[in-house]
Each structure stands twice: as C-alpha cells, then as structure tokens.
Symmetry: C2
Subunit: 274 residues, 2 copies
C-alpha cells in the first residue's frame, strides 16, 4: 500500500494529525537509562509505545542516530514500529538529495533498510533526483522550511512567485506523476502555508516548527488542513520526548502528546467551516 | 588546520587536482572479494592505497555505505586515510541540509565520527543551516549540479541572474565569513562554471561529472582552475574504481587515476595563459 493510502488510513484510525518526531538526545535522557549501551533504542521504543495510539506517524530524524553511531538502533526502532504499530506511518527524516545513481542507494536505505513509508528530500537537484525514490515509496519535499534563514533562497522571486511556491507546483504537478508526494512547510510561516495550499490543495503537508521553534499551531492548522483531521502531519519532537527529564518521562510524553493532539483537533474542524 | 589550508598543501604535495570518489558497489567488486563480510572496507582501502599519491582528495559517498549497513566500514576507511595518507584531504559527500539543531548532529557525524575535512551540503535552507558545520570544518555547497534536471530550479531567474549564481554569491560573500567554503559545479556544464567563477573567483570547486556522466574535462578545467594545479577537486569515481572487473582492479584503478590526473594537468596550465 502506498504512502498516501497508508496516511489516509492512519488519519482515520487514529483520529489524529500528530506526528511524533524521534530526535534522541542522550544528554536529555532520564537517569534510568544512564550508561545503557542501547539507551537510544530503549528511549525511542518507550516513547513509541506510549504515544502510538495518539499519532498518525512517527518521524525518526536520522542525524540524531548517525551522530551517535546508532544506525543499528534506528533499524530496530523502525522494525518495532512496523511490527507493533503497523497502522502508524513511518517517515524517515533524512532530507536526501543527490543525482540518480546515488539517489537509488538512498532509496534502498530508506525503504529497504529502515522500511519507511516516505522519506524527506531536498528539491534543489530537480525531478530526476527523486524519481528513484518514488519507484519504491513516498517523498516529502522541503518547500518552505521552519528555520529563521529559510527565506534567503526560498523566498526569491522567480517570475512573479517565490521559489517555494514554484517548488510546491513542481511537486504537485510533475513529481506526483511518479508517485506519492508531500511537502514540508514550517508552522513558523502560516502565511506561506496558505500560498502553498493554493497550488497544492491536496498534498499531505509535514508541518514542523510548533513548540521549541515557536510556530503558530492555530494559524497553521487553519491554513493547512484539507478537512477535519486531514491533510497535515503536525510534527512535534522535543516537547514530547523531553516533557520530563525524570524517570516519569513515558507518562509525561504521553500527556504532552495528548495535549498536542487535542490542540490540533480543536482547530481543524473550524478551519473547514470558513 | 582548516579545509582551505589542507587543500592548498594537498595540491602542492600531490601536484594533482584529482579527487577519487569512493562509491562502493558490491555487485561490481572483483571475484577475490566475493562474499567477504568486510568487502566494502577492503575494496575501498585497496583503491585508496593504490591512488593516494596521485590525488589531492578522497571523497567517500555515504549513500553507498548506508545502503549496505556499512557505516562502521566507512569509519575504518576514513581512519585509514587519515592515518596512512594524512596529506590527502577527506571530503564526506553527504549533501546534508537541515535546521540548526539537526545540522549540529550532522556536523558531529561528519567531522567527529568520520574525521572529514569538509562535507558537501545543500544550500536550500540558507545560511543558518550551515553555520553549525562551519564551526567545526569546511563545507562544499551544491551550486550547479551535474545531473540532467539540475537546471529545473538552479537555472531559474532570480532578479536578473540564475539561482545557482545567487547561491555562489551567497557562499562566497556570506557563508565564507563563518569558515572555509567551496562549491559543487558539474563538469557537464562548463559555461555555468564560468558564470560561477565570475562571482566566486577563489573558492575551491568540486567538479563531478567527468567520465560516466559525460562532462567536458578540458572546458571545465579551463573555466574552473584558478592557477596551474589549483582551484579544483576533479572528482572521478566509477571510471577508477571499476576500471577492471577482474582481480587486477588495483593496478587498473591506479592506471586510470594516472591517466585522469595527467589529463587534468595537461589542461590546467594553458587555461591560465589566456
């Protein structure tokens, strides 16, 4: 089953647009995990099991594993998600982007090794750099990212529209001919999200930037949801993973995930009544 | 010692602008390595030892290791280069690009775990996405890539110049304030390389695309070299790694590297006499 169909089912089954990002940071782990050789794996699986019924997706961020030589732990976390929470979509956040022959190797990593439903990609190299991914799974392209400097290139005017709108159009019209696509738009830029929705009315949008980055949840969900509970993967990482620094981190993470899920759901329906 | 100083010394010591790309493909390995559990590591180290005196840099492409669960082998290949060929620059080809907190994790991977002198990055997220890298090592930004679809976004007109020229200017003027930078320009586009050199006259340029991709070595070296033997890392991978499919692959790789080094050197001086 493809990325879009899996995501539709996940939205239905969970009643949630929350996507929990797995960004393990061993310096913030609770004391109970101190010194454990598989602390990253145990921490992530504890978070996954505590929140799986509250989310439509999990999104491991591969840099946080690679920096700690923990690719094997990431494999086991992904296998655990697929085995124990098969209805939850698995997005590998890797922001890949390379020429075709190399893209094929990255596709093998994302979809074969880690079993992801979709992988985040960078659009700068153009369509031929993502076709090898779309032959095997979904891609979610960076469009208007959540960081402060995102506008430096992404807002440049290209023939009467900003570059990020051109990217959204390229993904919606060209890339989508090859497979199931989505877009990344930061919750820190709700006005730009409205511009993206004008040219990509149906693509799933991965929305990072709420919480630590200061994004506007209400305005973003209003601008981005396509129907109640549909259209968005609202990503939250640190606020959930590190809701407590103590050994009660599992319960605290679940409570934080519930609050975020409910805050998202409280916005979504009204958005569609406009 | 920083990336630029290391590269200057490597150009001087080797008399070469050749950069051998390490893109291991087990399906193309010689029979002698069939079934060896550490075949990727042994193959790469054999190539490295056979060509180290002919190159200014080695450039492992991380996707080709990640697809085969071979990060530990990549660590050992990088350690071998640093220990046995300390004058050769080590470029990690990973094309990273992410928000600052994640970029810090990728920097730790590239410079800490693998000990690279520089890492390739994607410019789409802007300046704040590369500062965490430049605090610890060099970055080489994608500018005009070698693939067929590179022009889709990179050639878009942004206020009277193409996007890739704007990227080159941003890297030369802004990013370079934070550390040692370079650019990636494909040998498949020598006219665009001339445009890049007009706004970035001194930055090192990583030049992929000769050989299998059909790039124009003569025109590219003429356009890109800043002085005889200076200014470029001319990357070649498949033509050297797989010069022979037989157990004579080491000698064949060395011969191919010598031919490429000499072909580069034959162009470079005349370029500067214009």
């Amino acid at each position: 089953m493809g990325f879009h169909a899996r995501l539709e089912d996940a939205w239905s089954a969970s009643g949630s647009m929350l996507c929990v990002g797995l960004d393990p940071d061993p310096t913030r782990f609770p004391a109970a995990l101190d010194g454990a050789p598989d602390a990253i794996e145990r921490f992530c699986i504890a978070i996954v099991d505590a929140t799986a019924d509250l989310v439509c997706a999990f999104k491991p961020q591969i840099a946080h594993f690679a920096a700690h030589r923990a690719e094997t732990e990431l494999e086991r976390v992904c296998a655990h998600i697929r085995e124990h929470h098969p209805d939850v979509v698995l997005v590998l956040d890797a922001k890949r982007g390379d020429i075709g022959s190399t893209a094929s190797q990255y596709a093998r990593e994302a979809f074969g090794r880690y079993g992801a439903d979709a992988v985040t990609v960078n659009p700068y190299l153009g369509t031929d750099s993502v076709v090898p991914f779309l032959e095997h799974g979904g891609v979610i392209a960076l469009c208007r990212t959540s960081n402060p400097g995102s506008g430096e290139l992404q807002d440049l005017d290209v023939g009467g529209e900003p570059l990020f709108v051109r990217v959204a159009t390229m993904v919606a019209e060209q890339w989508s001919q090859y497979g199931d696509c989505g877009l990344v738009v930061g919750a820190t830029y709700p006005a730009q999200l409205t511009q993206v929705r004008a040219v990509a009315p149906t693509l799933p949008i991965l929305l990072p930037g709420i919480g630590a980055q200061g994004g506007d949840l209400d305005a973003s969900v209003t601008a981005g949801a396509t129907a109640p509970g549909r259209g968005l993967l609202v990503s939250s990482s640190r606020e959930i993973l590190y809701a407590s620094a103590g050994d009660d981190f599992v319960a605290a993470a679940r409570a934080a995930a519930q609050r975020t899920r409910d805050a998202i759901a409280a916005v979504s329906p009204s958005a569609r009544s406009h």
